[in-house]
């Protein structure tokens, strides 16, 4: 028979009803990977892209050269941030299910990525997140009421009712506005970092993308520009295994690790256990230090698992085993850090329970306050005439005219509502 080509269609190891199988995830033992100097040349550290940086071992100890040696008090803060992020997510999900917000995206199982990285970076560093890094806001001390008001599109909504829930921004907190178009923030962060270098600042940029959207051209633009100009930026690829219904093989993860793309473009690629708070913190610190001293960009692949649905509009039971997350070999980032603190003698189940209750109460209080500023269904909302603002810095005449047209329409409708109903004509 003559040889012929065959189209390869990637298939995940398990579909609904089948046994979860994560044997494809190559895992290095904790402490096994070397920690090179931040000035190391790319070609000497390509192993970092293939292995997996891990610090927490199975006995909950921090081991090996990547241990960032954080104080117990810092680890307790980290645990608090991750737990608050999870409880906030859980509450917002429930609220969406009650129909009080239109949409939500949880970060369950991935909290270590945003929280560890947020903590490892400086407050002046500019963050260009995707939509699953709400932990960054938590780390930087954002009042949850503001995030909730955004999800409610109410009178205190930072986006003035223009964006779907979770598309936050925070100018003074140096967190960029989230786009619903995936991956666009990746090369923008590189441009921001180029400007920082042009201006001679020591601030760096960090940005996040999913493994799924790394297939977009924007990923390639970002990698090319970052490498060409040695921009001070940390490029984070969160490999949570699933892009809605397509597994990471559809983004090109079957044959090489995503981190290996880094050396391909001429920058370090580091593959890290994304559910290991200490490992994520350590590699971020390494990449930040390298960027700050003109060493250029680093690509970090965070190997993690999207334990929740993609969004409230998604039902993962239709495409993956229902309990797949239980089989995830890298565990739960919150449990792992908690166990580490307990092993250090700096935490207990009882303290954890108390913290959980305290944070639950905090989230409840925040929600009560947020709701008092209005909800999308029952109001109050902002004046709809604000929709014409911020299209441009100054409103052009066509928008002024359209705003007046809507204003007139609304006052006519309001006047009509106030009039008593006209008498019904009787046939004579």
């Amino acid at each position: 028979m003559t040889p012929r080509s065959r189209l390869h269609v990637p298939a995940p190891p398990a579909r609904p009803g089948q046994e979860p199988d994560f044997s494809y995830v190559q895992i290095s033992p904790a402490g096994a990977v070397n920690r090179p100097d931040v000035t190391a040349s790319v070609r000497d550290i390509e192993n970092l892209a293939l292995e997996m940086v891990r610090v927490l071992d199975d006995e909950h100890r921090a081991v090996g050269p990547w241990d960032p040696h954080l104080e117990a008090s810092e680890l307790q803060v980290a645990l608090r941030h991750m737990l608050l992020t999870r409880l906030f997510d859980d509450r917002m999900q429930k609220i969406q299910r009650q129909g009080r917000i239109s949409f939500y995206i949880k970060s369950t199982g991935e909290e270590a990525v945003a929280v560890a990285q947020g903590m490892a970076l400086q407050p002046g560093d500019m963050l260009f997140p995707s939509y699953r890094q709400q932990g960054l806001h938590v780390v930087r001390g954002r009042n949850l009421v503001e995030l909730m008001c955004q999800c409610l599109s109410n009178t205190h909504d930072m986006c003035k009712g223009r964006q779907m829930p979770i598309m936050y921004h925070w100018g003074s907190g140096n967190i960029f506005t989230i786009s619903g178009n995936l991956a666009t923030q990746f090369p923008q962060a590189v441009g921001w970092a180029m400007a920082a270098a042009i201006k001679g600042e020591d601030r760096i940029a960090a940005t996040w993308i999913g493994e799924g959207s790394s297939a977009e051209a924007d990923f390639h633009y970002a990698m090319t520009f970052a490498a060409v100009y040695q921009a001070p930026v940390i490029l984070n690829l969160v490999n949570n295994q699933w892009a809605i219904s397509t597994f990471q093989g559809f983004a090109g993860g079957e044959h090489k690790t995503f981190a290996q793309r880094g050396p391909g473009y001429g920058m370090p690629g580091i593959r890290v256990d994304g559910n290991d708070f200490l490992a994520v913190y350590a590699v971020t610190q390494w990449a930040a230090q390298r960027a700050r001293q003109s060493g250029g960009p680093t690509l970090i692949e965070h190997v993690t698992y999207r334990a929740a649905a993609h969004s409230t509009s998604d039902d993962p039971a239709r495409y993956r085993p229902k309990e797949e997350w239980r089989a995830w070999p890298l565990g739960d980032p919150i449990t792992r850090l908690k166990q580490h603190l307990i092993a250090l003698g700096e935490w207990s189940e009882e303290r954890h329970g108390r913290l959980e209750k305290e944070l639950e109460a905090h989230v409840t209080a925040c929600w009560k306050e947020a709701e008092s500023y209005g909800t999308l269904s029952s109001g109050p909302t902002l004046d709809p005439l604000t929709m014409f603002e911020d299209v441009f810095k100054e409103m052009p005449s066509n928008l002024v005219r359209q705003r007046e047209e809507l204003r007139a329409l609304r006052s006519a409708t309001a006047a009509e509502r106030q009039q008593p109903a006209p008498p019904v004509a009787k046939k004579g």
Partner: protein
């Protein structure tokens, strides 16, 4: 005052702005060491250094995205897209990002980016080096769209664009880079030095965005046009022997409705001319605006003279180009009506 062609005038605008404002940076393919394939950035890197005038990888999406990030970080980037025909890889970054950052963040984030790009045909560029995609951008809310027709306006409008706090897509009709073109490719080229709008101040001045210009006064019919076609329309008016009023739209968004409609209400007749294809072209917006504002003053249907609804063919560009004969025929047609 100096005599400048459009290339020199645009170069002078960037020179002035690089000198005046340390936030201004230029980036694009071949714009640095080489000075651009059309020489528009010639000498700027030598003068201001390679941190202010940057050569980039061949990636229009990357250029626009990087410019956005730079703009967010306080710079005023001027990005060159080598041909308007190459802008599409960057389209998402323009439409979904650049145009809407200010809106989606309720004013907290914005990027004052100017995108310069040569457009239009008549240089044997075939279907990938001749397009006029302005209407694709005027349909996007949140960006301003500009196309000058002469060196004086080119410099003044580019300075206004760079100073603007909102994004601007700045189209440069490349057929008239070196001289006004009246639509007859067989005539010897005319340089800008012989044209009054080839007189360009050396220093800083602005031509405001959002203002059309009356190029020729007349009483019979109003011709609404922009870019290269301003000069072709002038030739067509001479050919048709009508006393036409020619308006150079100059900025397509925001549109100077008052200047356009005052003219049409006065003359009662209107022909819209552009080089871009006809269907859903920018002319449709002009015609709709005219009929809304001037309907009771109109003596004849408003006509459009445009490129055909085909790609720009390499071998037949002069059959494609809406030259003086086609415009003159339309002028006669509106004069004969009613």
């Amino acid at each position: 005052m100096a005599r400048m062609n459009m290339v020199q005038a645009l170069n002078s605008a960037m020179d002035v702005m690089l000198e005046r404002d340390p936030r201004v940076v230029i980036l694009g393919e071949d714009v640095g060491f080489f000075g651009g394939v059309f020489r528009v950035t010639d000498g700027l890197q030598r003068k201001y250094g390679e941190h202010r005038v940057l050569d980039t990888p061949i990636a229009e999406g990357g250029i626009i995205a990087a410019a956005i990030g730079m703009g967010v970080n306080g710079l005023k980037p001027v990005a060159e897209i080598q041909f308007a025909d190459y802008i599409y890889p960057g389209f998402d970054q323009v439409v979904s990002e650049l145009a809407r950052l200010r809106y989606r963040s309720a004013g907290e984030f914005f990027a004052p980016v100017t995108i310069r790009t040569p457009c239009g045909g008549g240089i044997r560029g075939g279907q990938t080096h001749s397009q006029s995609p302005e209407s694709i951008f005027t349909h996007v809310c949140g960006i301003k769209v500009v196309m000058p027709s002469n060196p004086y306006d080119a410099k003044g409008l580019l300075i206004s664009s760079i100073e603007d706090e909102d994004p601007v897509v700045f189209f440069e009709p490349k057929r008239i880079y070196n001289g006004p073109f009246d639509g007859d490719p067989h005539k010897p080229a005319v340089p800008w030095s012989a044209h009054p709008r080839g007189e360009v101040p050396d220093g800083h001045y602005r031509v405001p965005i959002g203002r059309a210009e009356l190029v020729r006064e007349g009483k019979d019919v109003s011709v609404l046009t922009y870019g290269t076609m301003v000069h072709v329309a002038e030739a067509a008016v001479r050919l048709a022997g009508v006393d036409a009023e020619i308006i150079d739209v100059r900025t397509m968004a925001p549109l100077d409705v008052d200047t356009l409609c005052t003219s049409v209400c006065k003359t009662g007749r209107c022909v819209v001319v552009h080089e871009a294809t006809r269907f859903s072209g920018y002319g449709a917006e002009l015609v709709a605006t005219v009929q809304e504002q001037c309907f009771w003053n109109l003596e004849a249907p408003v006509l459009r003279v445009t490129g055909w609804d085909t790609p720009y063919p390499h071998a037949f560009e002069w059959e494609y180009f809406p030259g003086p004969a086609r415009i003159a025929a339309a002028l006669k047609q509106v004069m004969e009506a009613a």
